[in-house]
């Protein structure tokens, strides 16, 4: 092979490696996205269902009507809450595992992964037993006289948030663990030798080095919570409307496919913008963690 051909082949090689993924994602994801976008420019009619058109009316309505703005605000607020709380809860958990429990990693992985893999339908059953007005949690709190009347958690925002934190906690634990396990033990020892207290080590050494893990953790949980359908639909309050159930309701109850498509496109754009912005922000704020 002449050097010229080898060089040009090398230029095309990455494309060759992408072909299998493209074969899956182009027809089954990107083409449907194009269709989704095209649908968002159509018009909904109560009798004729979706009418082919080329109008921005859905976008205007979605971005100006307080009905929809409240929807976005609710969903972003809830997703932010879930992402931050899940990451905070996960942080000491991942720290402990990365420092002290490497030999029990199998058990930990099982305990952390399993909630992800058992059917969401079953998890919802479990939450209904725990959070119902006559459920486990209330029964316990009432018997211990912490409460006089039962807490309303099921079919309320509180119950939904508990269920969502539970569902996304494993997603937060693993990136943090990945980042923390990269911090060599020598660094701990060195900083202790230089006089740092254990908590000082965490504050000044571990935390800054774990920032990329924190960011990935926040990104994954936020994106997941933002687009969650099942938990808001089944555990949440219809008074606190979330985006994915609203999209489904627009498509199936209102038979407004165009509006549903519009909301979906807006959701995708928002997530991509957020992920891009947060990635950029991380690069600026933590210059010591330049990617390899």
């Amino acid at each position: 092979m002449t050097p010229g051909t080898a060089a040009s082949l090398r230029r095309w090689t990455p494309l060759l490696w992408i072909v299998p993924a493209a074969l899956v994602l182009l027809p089954f994801f990107f083409l449907p996205l194009v269709l989704l976008f095209r649908n968002s420019l159509n018009r909904d009619d109560p009798m004729l269902l979706m009418v082919p058109d080329f109008t921005a009316i859905n976008y205007i309505k979605a971005l100006s009507d307080p009905f929809y703005l409240q929807l976005f605000a609710n969903t972003i607020g809830a997703a932010l809450f879930v992402a931050v709380i899940a990451t905070i809860i996960a942080y000491p958990f991942s720290y402990f595992i990365s420092r002290y429990a490497r030999r029990s990693i199998g058990l930990v992985v099982w305990a952390v992964y399993m909630p992800l893999f058992v059917s969401v339908i079953v998890r919802v059953f479990g939450w209904m037993i725990v959070l119902a007005d006559s459920g486990l949690l209330n029964a316990m709190l009432l018997k211990l006289h912490f409460l006089q009347t039962p807490l309303r958690l099921l079919f309320e925002v509180d119950g939904m948030l508990i269920g969502m934190v539970h569902r996304y906690l494993p997603l937060a634990i693993l990136p943090l663990f990945n980042a923390m396990k990269k911090i060599p033990d020598e660094l701990h020892r060195a900083s202790a030798n230089l006089g740092a207290t254990p908590s000082g080590v965490i504050r000044d050494v571990v935390f800054p080095l774990s920032v990329p893990g924190i960011v990935i953790s926040l990104q994954l949980t936020f994106a997941g919570a933002l687009s969650d359908f099942v938990l808001p639909q089944v555990l949440g309050s219809p008074r606190f409307r979330m985006l994915a159930p609203a999209i489904y309701a627009e498509a199936t109850t209102n038979l407004s496919t165009a509006m549903a498509a519009t909301l979906a496109v807006l959701m995708l754009v928002f997530i991509i913008a957020l992920l891009g912005a947060s990635g950029y922000l991380v690069k600026r704020l933590t210059p010591w963690m330049t990617a390899r």
Binding site: W17, V19, L25, F96, W110, F117, R189, S199
Partner: protein, 270 residues
């Protein structure tokens, strides 16, 4: 009790405090699952907890229900096919992103992860409407395609994580010894990243097995999670919880793969 890694400088109090914390969080993670599994062995007829007694009747009933059995078969077929496709597509995409520097690399990575940012029902509905363009109808093939859309990013993510410690000088050494790119991949790269590939594939398979949103629109209503959902829309008895016992057992079978992948990528030098 040996506590690997603990140094004289670490405070024992911090260790104990963190341990208690980890156990509490672990209990929180397991709670709804433990309850649902206990329900499966309940002798009662509804969703009462604690169960009035223990019995195998719901497990037996679930196993005897034809829809659940057929659903299990169909879901298994779809999951295996999804796993294979996701493994191939995800691994090669991860190689493309990791080994090569080209313009638009960051954009490609974002595009690869994009399917995880949309709700499954949106993707499912959108795919349903594009199926006729490929001469497909809702069914097993369409379901596999839809599930792979979710599986590919997961495999790519896991393999990329595996590749993050990959030493490119291995590739260069292999090339200088005369091996072609494919040979290098097959005999050097693949064995090193196989824990990541396995973990990602297992992930993709288990997510496919649990998928409701995509299957609702792309299948014939006959995957196991859909059958469970159909049951739950009309009946409040523990038969769905009984099916979940099976799924928990399945996840137990997946543990050795995950353990191996974690140990090989995260085990520090002894």
């Amino acid at each position: 009790m040996s506590r690997p890694g603990i140094e004289a400088i670490d405070s024992a109090g911090m260790y104990r405090g963190l341990l208690v914390y980890v156990l509490i969080v672990g209990a929180f993670l397991m709670l709804p699952l433990v309850l649902a599994v206990m329900l499966a062995f309940s002798s009662g007829g509804g969703l009462e907890f604690p169960p009035p007694g223990l019995s195998f009747k719901w497990i037996v009933k679930a196993a005897a229900t034809r829809e659940f059995r057929e659903g299990l078969l169909i879901s298994a077929v779809v999951a295996v096919a999804t796993g294979l496709i996701s493994a191939i597509a995800g691994t090669s995409a991860a190689i493309a992103i990791n080994h090569f520097r080209f313009r638009g690399r960051a954009a490609l990575q974002a595009l690869l992860m994009a399917p995880l940012s949309l709700p499954g029902i949106v993707i499912g509905l959108a795919i349903l409407f594009t199926l006729p363009a490929f001469g497909l109808v809702p069914g097993i093939v369409a379901t596999i395609g839809g599930h792979s859309v979710i599986g590919v990013p997961y495999v790519a993510y896991m393999v990329l994580a595996s590749l993050s410690n990959y030493d490119m000088s291995l590739d260069r050494a292999s090339a200088s010894l005369g091996a072609g790119q494919w040979q290098t991949f097959r005999r050097i790269t693949l064995p090193i990243i196989s824990p990541g590939v396995t973990a990602g594939t297992v992930c993709a398979m288990l997510l496919s097995f649990d998928n409701v949103a995509l299957s609702l629109f792309l299948s014939n209503g006959n995957t196991l999670p859909l059958r469970m959902m159909q049951s739950m829309q009309f009946y409040t008895d523990p038969s769905v919880a009984a099916v979940s016992v099976l799924l928990v057992a399945l996840s137990l079978a997946a543990v050795p793969f995950l353990k191996r992948s974690f140990r090989e990528t995260h085990m520090e030098r002894a």
